[in-house]
């Protein structure tokens, strides 16, 4: 028999934040910020490693980070860091079964207890905290 199509959505489906509410958006942001922070960590190690090539190389690298693009990138890193931490705490507690509600008799129209307002509030708070931190970071970096 010919091979059947597996019909898996693949990375395209996994990375699609629409269709399933704010929880799926938070899942997508958590992954995206995780990858962004990993990229920053690698870049940061490369940046600081230039010090072994002497003061001139180090100063040159510092100059590169003191540009408008460098400041915008660092502002983004601040946002990613704050969101990833705050939402990560929510997810870790959830993984321990904390804050996901209690089992009970489901009643129509079957609102899932695990997708409760506390979880949604925590996601919005994480986004809000990240936005505030980015604004503060930008004001310091750009000297506003």
């Amino acid at each position: 028999m010919a091979e059947r199509l597996s019909n898996r959505e693949g990375i395209k489906g996994m990375a699609n934040p629409t269709r399933y509410g704010i929880e799926r958006v938070a899942y997508w942001l958590q992954r995206l910020t995780g990858l962004g922070l990993l990229a920053y960590l690698i870049g940061h190690i490369y940046e600081t490693s230039t010090i072994v090539h002497g003061k001139i190389a180090w100063d040159k690298m510092l100059e590169f980070t003191q540009t408008t693009q460098g400041h915008l990138f660092l502002t983004l890193v601040i946002g990613m860091c704050v969101f990833h931490t705050a939402n990560g705490i929510r997810v870790m507690l959830g993984h321990g079964g904390i804050g996901v509600g209690k089992p009970g008799q489901p009643e129509y129209p079957y609102k899932a207890a695990s997708l409760n307002y506390k979880q949604r509030l925590c996601i919005w708070v994480s986004i809000g905290l990240a936005a505030l931190a980015m604004m503060y970071g930008a004001s310091v970096l750009f000297g506003v």
Partner: protein, 259 residues
């Protein structure tokens, strides 16, 4: 002789009846494919008359009866009990018998086979992996004294004991949760929210003595640790089973946070 007069229906009632009787026409796009024959997915469009209460399944069956008999669709109970008619409706997994055309608020409705399941033909998908993972979870009470003898006594459970697992026993194995799960989209060996929720259903049952067996099965690199609590499974569950809660409670139990 007594004369029975029928009261005239009120204007409001006449208006409601008119609205309910109103027939609209929608465009139903059905994904067609036959992987066994090497046929790639294409979409067939049909004009279907619908009323306010017409379900997506009824619209598909109208097509089968009147326009194209060859459309492949699996269905049975038509009342969200058997879990046969799961499919992607306008991009989101849902039961065709449980989704009214009117609630989709669109004149164009696209139905496709559920993602993360191999396609048999058109809208019918292969449930082999889901059933196999369900079986792996040993979905039955494990007890040494399960055989009924003349000396057997009933096992008394309190309403609280029942509440711990009852919700999760409402699973109809429709596969919508597995179709919505982002991990299932990429990991072909992942047990999936359906299987994991069923593992917790028995772990939470105080009659069961097979916890250790089940925990060994789910404690795997393609098991419970691959769930990242995206909640999409609970978002689409048509029976309020809330697989995301079951999985988190099971993980909490394994980590020692839950009793």
């Amino acid at each position: 002789m007594a004369v029975v007069t029928t009261p005239k229906p009120s204007e409001e009632l006449i208006s409601i009846n008119k609205t309910l009787d109103q027939t609209n026409t929608i465009t139903l796009r059905i994904a067609r494919s036959n992987p066994a024959e090497g046929q790639e997915t294409s979409y067939s469009e049909f004009k279907v008359p619908v009323k306010k209460w017409t379900t997506v399944l009824e619209a598909i069956l109208y097509v089968k009866q009147n326009l194209d008999h060859a459309v492949a669709v699996r269905y049975s109970c038509r009342q969200a009990s058997c879990g046969s008619c799961g499919m992607k409706i306008n991009g989101k997994p849902g039961l065709a018998c449980y989704t009214k055309v009117s609630e989709l608020k669109s004149n164009v409705i696209t139905v496709e086979p559920m993602n993360n399941f191999p396609i048999i033909r058109d809208l019918a998908v292969d449930f082999k992996q889901l059933i196999s993972n369900h079986k792996k979870m040993k979905p039955f009470i494990i007890r040494e004294d399960s055989e009924v003898t003349p000396e057997s006594k009933e096992f008394i459970q309190t309403p609280k004991d029942l509440e711990n697992f009852l919700q999760f026993s409402y699973c109809i194995k429709c596969g919508l949760c597995n179709s919505a799960c982002p991990t299932m989209a990429t990991d072909t060996s992942f047990i999936g929210p359906q299987g994991l929720a069923q593992a917790y259903r028995y772990v939470a049952d105080n009659r069961d003595k097979g916890k250790e067996d089940r925990l060994k099965i789910v404690d795997d690199s393609h098991g419970i640790w691959r769930c990242h609590f995206a909640g999409s499974c609970s978002h689409v569950c048509p029976k309020g089973v809330d697989p995301a809660m079951a999985i988190q409670l099971l993980r909490g139990y394994m980590l020692g946070f839950q009793k």
